[in-house]
């Protein structure tokens, strides 16, 4: 009896296993059309799940990467951190640095074949500068002539934007600003959107328009096809782009970083950004090339709340920097893939001869003693856990600052809470990162200037030095680039001495890609990875 029963059970089990086997073996090659890195389809790792694709949003890197493929902007930044003409072939800046005139390329077209003119640019900028609909760009364009009248309802359009002819777009500013380009030129900012698609949408409805979930008309090298939620974004070559791309389709896949590393090995992914901690693993895989770029990801920093009396003395902040062995951290935790910054400015704006705050606990103790530091009072260090290098740095800060008499208590917070405590200045120390400071010196104003404090947003340390502010004002009005550079280097020197932030480290951007991909130039800023995607080719 028992044997017969077991035989039947075994039969059912075998049938189930066979069904699973058939399913598993239906395509033994695995990976499908894009899986082997061949043909004309490319699979790229998308490190976050995108939400939607609106240039009006305050978007994160993943959305920015997709948008840089399907939209285009007037000017972008290349891998050497220099301005790269995009829709605008050239631009003039008036001697008073208040008027920018952009000259568009001839014969520009949208992906649906309709002509792209300065009217589209004007339409886009009217939206981008409107605080009621634009979360991401309105702040960057707040100084354009007429924005205040428009916001208060006195004017129906923003007077500072104009399109005198189909190939020319003009921006007028209230005050001199040589740094405007850096505000609109990041590959992920100020994208131009089609007026012929969105022009009839009422302004109060435009923010929620379904177009932003599926922007199938754009001016980028690729055209949006679909977003399979939480799986992948598919884009296809835009035949109307000024220099049509060679690779036919790009799939941007949202997987975890572990899976991304594995898929680089299997060929399911052709290109991925890898963490410094995974760099060695990837270098051990055959058929892959690894490249790294410095300075494009800003820096991971600790803001020191200078609304608290105990942190106002620069000697306390300098002591903290001397107490931290940042050089060894970069070597050990980042495998050497990083820089140790000593000012908030980066790249060419950093002069030689500034203090490198080399690890010196004795000096740290002396500075703290001179500043009458009260070591009995704990100092909380708030950060969002889950990123290995940042978690490691918090551990290091806790032990090395404790060693010199600063009693650090790590405090884990969620993203939402971090924003709140930074906004309300209810923190002691807080660790965060980001920014692109290599292109233009003016980009540090939101994190350094006294003027950035009232909004309690960008200048999270609440650092204020009127001398730095005066220099920053002088620099944005200075038409001579060499002189501007000199002024920003002065800012860097002052900032270095006063330690506005605890500059922790600046991680390199590391890219790994299949050797079948050619023409790829790794950008230091990962959101600009596709800056020359139209020139990429796939062989084999």
């Amino acid at each position: 009896m028992r044997r017969r029963l077991l035989a039947r059970l075994a039969a059912v089990g075998t049938a189930t296993a066979l069904m699973a086997g058939v399913a598993a073996c239906s395509d033994p090659t695995n990976g499908g059309t894009s899986g082997q890195g061949g043909g004309s389809d490319l699979s790229v790792y998308l490190y976050q799940k995108p939400k939607r694709f609106s240039p009006l949003d305050s978007f994160a890197g993943a959305e920015g990467q997709v948008m840089s493929l399907v939209f285009d902007n007037l000017v972008s930044v290349n891998a050497a951190y220099q301005y790269e003409p995009r829709l605008a072939q050239s631009w003039d800046i008036s001697p008073d640095s208040k008027t920018y005139t952009f000259h568009l390329r001839k014969g520009l077209k949208w992906s649906d074949g309709k002509p792209l003119t300065s009217a589209d640019v004007l339409f886009s900028y009217q939206l981008l500068a409107n605080p009621a609909v634009s979360d991401g760009m309105a702040g960057r364009l707040a100084d354009v002539v007429g924005v205040k009248d428009f916001t208060s309802g006195k004017a129906k359009t923003i007077a500072g934007f104009s399109a005198p002819d189909p190939d020319t777009f003009v921006v007028k500013l209230n005050s001199a600003n040589r740094g405007l380009l850096s505000n609109i030129a990041g590959g992920t900012y100020a994208f131009i959107v089609p007026q012929h698609v969105l022009g009839n949408v009422p302004i109060d409805k435009i923010k929620d328009d379904p177009f932003w979930n599926k922007p199938t008309v754009g001016a980028g090298p690729y055209t949006f096809v679909q977003y399979r939620t939480d799986q992948y974004v598919e884009v296809v070559r835009n035949p109307n782009f000024r220099q049509p791309a060679s690779i036919n389709r790009i799939f941007l896949k949202t997987v975890t970083s572990d899976v991304a590393t594995a898929q680089l090995g299997t060929g399911e992914l052709t290109l991925a950004q890898v963490a410094a901690t995974d760099a060695k693993t990837v270098q051990g895989m055959s058929g892959l090339t690894t490249v790294s770029q410095k300075g494009g990801n800003g820096f991971v920093r600790v803001a020191v709340n200078q609304t608290q009396q105990r942190f106002r003395d620069p000697r306390v902040r300098q002591a903290m920097l001397y107490a931290l062995d940042r050089k060894q951290f970069v070597q050990k935790s980042l495998g050497g893939y990083g820089l140790v910054p000593n000012t908030s400015l980066m790249g060419k704006f950093v002069p030689s001869g500034i203090d490198d705050y080399a690890y010196n606990p004795a000096k740290a103790k002396a500075l703290l003693a001179a500043a009458h530091w009260d070591s009995s009072k704990p100092v909380t260090l708030a950060w969002i856990p889950g990123t290995r290098d940042r978690d490691d740095f918090v551990t290091l800060a806790q032990s090395q600052l404790n060693a010199v008499g600063i009693k650090v208590v790590p405090k884990q917070v969620q993203a939402a809470e971090l924003g709140q405590i930074q906004d309300k200045a209810t923190f002691d120390l807080t660790l965060f990162g980001g920014g692109l400071y290599t292109v233009d010196g003016s980009s540090v104003a939101p994190i350094l200037s006294c003027k950035a404090i009232p909004l309690k947003a960008g200048n999270i340390s609440r650092f204020c030095d009127p001398k730095i502010d005066a220099l920053l004002d002088q620099a944005v009005a200075e038409p001579d680039d060499a002189k501007r550079l000199g002024i920003y280097q002065q800012v860097a020197r002052l900032d270095n001495q006063e330690s506005s932030y605890l500059w922790a480290y600046s991680p390199d951007t590391i890219w790994a890609y299949n050797k079948k991909l050619t023409g790829f130039t790794g950008h230091g800023n990962f959101t600009l990875v596709f800056w020359n995607a139209y020139q990429w080719k796939l062989s084999g």
Partner: protein, 319 residues
């Protein structure tokens, strides 16, 4: 029974109301400010101090909490769960979009779990204290105690990276697709989830069946010459069904809520992934909508369990 179901449904409406108040209050009690999550402070720079207040007003977050609740409830009863702060899409749409992948993954996992659990549990009970029984005990303990993220990563390593017979992540091949392709993507996550269901199921089935096989009516059936197959499946196994119904009904909301870890590892676009990202972004409308969906599911499954009791065991009378 119809009167019973109607009465229970009415009670559920009250429970649902209480649930909605609780969920709404709890979600709002979470620390943080959704506007500050949505807007990068350095990008808001220059727009003036009124900018963030304006954004709060746009989302209705400057209203008193009770007012926010009633305006939400008024819309919710008509099926309008509001608009996601993040994707700017209707919450009902966002949830519905996730329902398909979740039902597919969880349904398959549940089926694997039940079939495997019942099968192995029955064998273990019939061949009690044999090598098969002991092996089943060890394996079922292992499925419960080894964390699914470990099994998931190990499975990717073996089946995707080394053997290369199954895809490592996603629900379909980009640019490909089709039923067979989805099935291939389903094998690893569904099996791993299914095993986690099967583990405890084996113990329940085995325990229940052993009790039944010792009962007098089984001895009577054997004495009357009923075949072993008939004794186990028609008589004994049927009587172990009632506790199993409870277990399965408890599993359904749990599984349809999404297996967060498995979905993350295998990039499966289900509910679990949605709720994790929505909580991190303080996307209140989606979190509240999701919590309500789970609440309703639990209430319905409880009701269904009661009704199924009566179907499985005619002695149970619902009144």
């Amino acid at each position: 029974m119809v009167a019973y179901v109607i009465r229970r449904l009415l009670v559920n409406v009250l429970v649902f109301f209480g649930l909605s108040v609780g969920i709404f209050a709890l979600v709002r009690a979470a620390p943080g400010d959704p506007v500050l999550v949505m807007i990068d402070p350095t990008q808001a720079q220059g727009a003036g101090p009124g900018f963030l207040a304006m954004k709060r007003h746009e989302l209705g977050l400057d209203q008193p909490l009770p007012l926010q609740y009633f305006s939400w409830l008024r819309r919710a009863v008509t099926g309008d769960l509001g608009v996601s702060y993040v994707s700017h899409r209707g919450v009902a749409d966002v949830l519905t979009e996730r329902l398909g992948p979740t039902v597919l993954l969880m349904g398959t996992a549940l089926a694997i779990g039940i079939i495997l659990g019942a099968l192995v549990g029955t064998i273990a009970a019939v061949r009690r204290n044999s090598a098969v029984d002991y092996t089943a005990a060890v394996l079922s303990m292992a499925t419960v105690s080894v964390p699914s993220f470990f099994v998931g990563i190990a499975a990717i390593y073996v089946f995707s990276l080394n053997l290369r017979i199954l895809p490592s992540a996603g629900m379909s091949t980009p640019g490909g697709g089709g039923g067979a392709d989805i099935l291939r993507h389903l094998v690893l996550p569904a099996t791993i989830l299914g095993l986690s269901v099967a583990g405890p199921m084996v113990r329940y089935v085995r325990g229940g069946l052993i009790g039944e096989l010792n009962a007098d009516y089984v001895r009577t059936a054997v004495a009357k010459g009923a075949s072993p197959w008939r004794v186990v499946f028609r008589h004994a196994l049927r009587n172990t069904l009632i506790p199993l119904i409870t277990i399965v009904m408890i599993y359904i909301p749990q599984l349809l809520g999404g297996a967060v870890v498995i979905e993350q590892i295998f990039s499966w676009p289900g509910m679990g992934q949605l709720v994790v990202s929505s909580v991190a972004a303080l996307d209140y409308p989606v979190v509240v909508g999701f919590a309500l969906y789970i609440g309703v599911l639990v209430l319905l499954c409880n009701l269904l369990a009661d009704v199924l009791y009566a179907v499985a065991d005619p002695r149970v009378r619902l009144s």
